[in-house]
Subunit: 209 residues, 4 copies
DNA sequence: CATGAATGAGCCTTCATTCAT
DNA sequence: TATGAATGAAGGCTCATTCAT
């Protein structure tokens, strides 16, 4: 998870920048410029360290990018998987809950920038794209497909292909994340995906019923 | 529209490369690498001309990118607007038709690369992002919102916010386009968004009914 | 052979720098600083071109070094081999002639810098060292060993190991080349290996007799 | 002399690294890479200390190099001068003895790397080159010239320029040292200059007789 | 004494852009 | 119109050197 010093001891004020802070800075710069257009000068300045300091923790610019992706996604996926595993209730309500949970992350954290970054650089970093696809996308789609399947088995949903339905669940979330990172910047009113996602869940649940 | 020499005079076949060919080559390279990582060497080689020749038609790399975006989107938007204007029938059937029309373009042409490019470079080229948003996104969303509004007025759809519903229509199309350009590359089976989009329209129309 | 424009058409004044000129400049700078301490800025300035121009002809700094070594040695070796092949006379006189020929090259050309460069960088560029050893050193030692063997067979020389004797012939020549490139620079009187090499041949021929 | 802690107080074994150990490590690294390509990281690791520790004893990388040269050569020169001063016998036998003594050092110690280092860096460190030339080369040549002069005066040698003859004595020794440090590395059989140097002395003494 | 962490300066390399032909 | 050749302006990366502990 990319939060400043999230792995540091609580309560003890930190003086120096650790790898997590560097990754947090890198995320901000990469999210802004994209990987190729981002300059390590900017990442270093954003982190408050010298450019050379980046090389104390990472082998190369590409290694920073890879560490960023690898470090930021798993905790969130795992949180969602826990939410699903512990759920006691109907499939529809779970879907609604999941979408709201994801929406909160999209709104509040910088994580919304990852889809943009992955999409932009997938063909330049095929290994990373494969990693992200298997560790994030497929796991999340699998999670959603499982919920849909449960809903079908319980009679809550009509029979459909759960894997396709999972993509239908995701699509407006992805839309919101991309909109936030790419277009919302210049809007007068702050970006709020909540109404869209409420309508999304309402409509989808009706559609699947 | 990015087709080799599509805007050239009919009847007089050309051998040498014109601006449209250069843009077609640029689209292929930009789609593959992204704007920043793309080299004009590659664009020139892809177009079969010298690197200097690019500067006979365009002021700069950025100008190529802008001309690319500006040239490629309007014809398609206009085609869709014509399709909608000429439609005689229900709103649901029109939505289904529109989604299918867009899906065909996504599958068959290189146009599917534009969303990726725009999303990736929106913050580096705010003017271009604004242009794309107003000329493509807003027009398309407006089109769809109009259809939804018509459906609501005719009683075909339940009352919803047409602008939000329009985004729900778009989201799986965007998902398909991005999947094609970023992840489908390494799949064994060729990418086919048709089943997903069929389920999408089915579910959405049920959900909006 | 590293001579400005040696491969250019005679009589037509050249305007632009070709690879040979770049190598000639590189030799001067590498000879002065050594490979690692040499800056491509210096090579470029010495050649009168921009630093980027070096990359029109060579892949990297190392490639320049390798091309330099590979291009400069063969013509000279071949000249010596021709001299030996065409020799009609005694082994001793041939040795004296060879040493004088080499001495002239050492004095007049920049080639004397190669031993220093190879010796300094042999362990950093093992492939290049192997190339130089097999294409220059071994060939030259073979040439000399052959002459010594001829001298022994003709009774001109006493029996000795020709390969060792060849090294004895070379050693003062190497000494002279290294002295020129490393120590003679700061001497008041210009460096002249002739007296040393005269004594060398005199003494060696007496010693081998 | 570069031996671990050779100048330390006798009887008190030390565990931590002193300046002599650092110089010994520096010699190994410089001999391998050359001065410019050697990294202080490597020197520190070779010495088993931190990179910062080098700066407790030396002002700079260049200072290490200079201390290395200054410390390593004088003891050996003095040993040779003592050997010569104490010699009771003919000039030829003394020469043979000297060459053998030097050959042993070349084979057994790392000192053989100095000629390579000095030759490679002479133009980058003119002061050091001057120091080495006056304190090592000139003294050694003077020593040898003195022996030759004695041999001429005693009638053992024919009249020649003693200074030139001294260079003839040195040349194959230099050749051996350079061969060891630059080319012998990749040979299957270990490098042994003894046969060459035996033939050298034999031939030279005959030649001077 | 000793070091881990940090950095300023500099170098190799790339690439969008220009220009003479 | 078209290009091969050339370059200025960075950017990634390295490394000798410093400093707080």
């Amino acid at each position: 998870m990319i939060e400043p010093s999230s792995s540091r001891a609580r309560g003890r004020p930190r003086k120096i920048a650790g790898p997590d802070d560097l990754l947090a800075a890198a995320l901000r710069v990469f999210a802004e410029k994209g990987f190729a257009a981002a300059r390590l000068d900017d990442v270093a300045r954003e982190a408050g360290v010298s450019k050379a300091a980046l090389y104390l923790y990472f082998e190369s610019k590409q290694a920073i990018f890879e560490a960023l992706v690898r470090s930021a996604v798993l905790p969130n996926i795992e949180r969602l998987e826990r939410l699903v595993a512990e759920w006691r209730g109907g499939a529809g309500a779970l879907l609604r809950n999941l979408v709201e949970a994801i929406a909160r992350v999209v709104v509040e954290s910088e994580i919304a920038a990852f889809p943009k970054l992955i999409i932009a650089e997938a063909s330049n970093f095929p290994d990373l794209a494969r990693f992200y696809r298997s560790q994030v996308i497929e796991r999340m789609l699998g999670l959603l497909a499982g919920i849909v399947r449960r809903g079908i088995e319980s009679g809550e949903f009509r029979p459909t292909d759960p894997h396709l339905a999972a993509r239908l669940v995701i699509a407006p979330l992805l839309f919101s994340a991309l909109w936030k990172t790419s277009f919302a910047r210049h809007d007068a009113t702050p970006f709020d995906p909540a109404p869209l996602l409420r309508l999304h869940v309402d409509t989808l649940l009706r559609g699947l019923a």
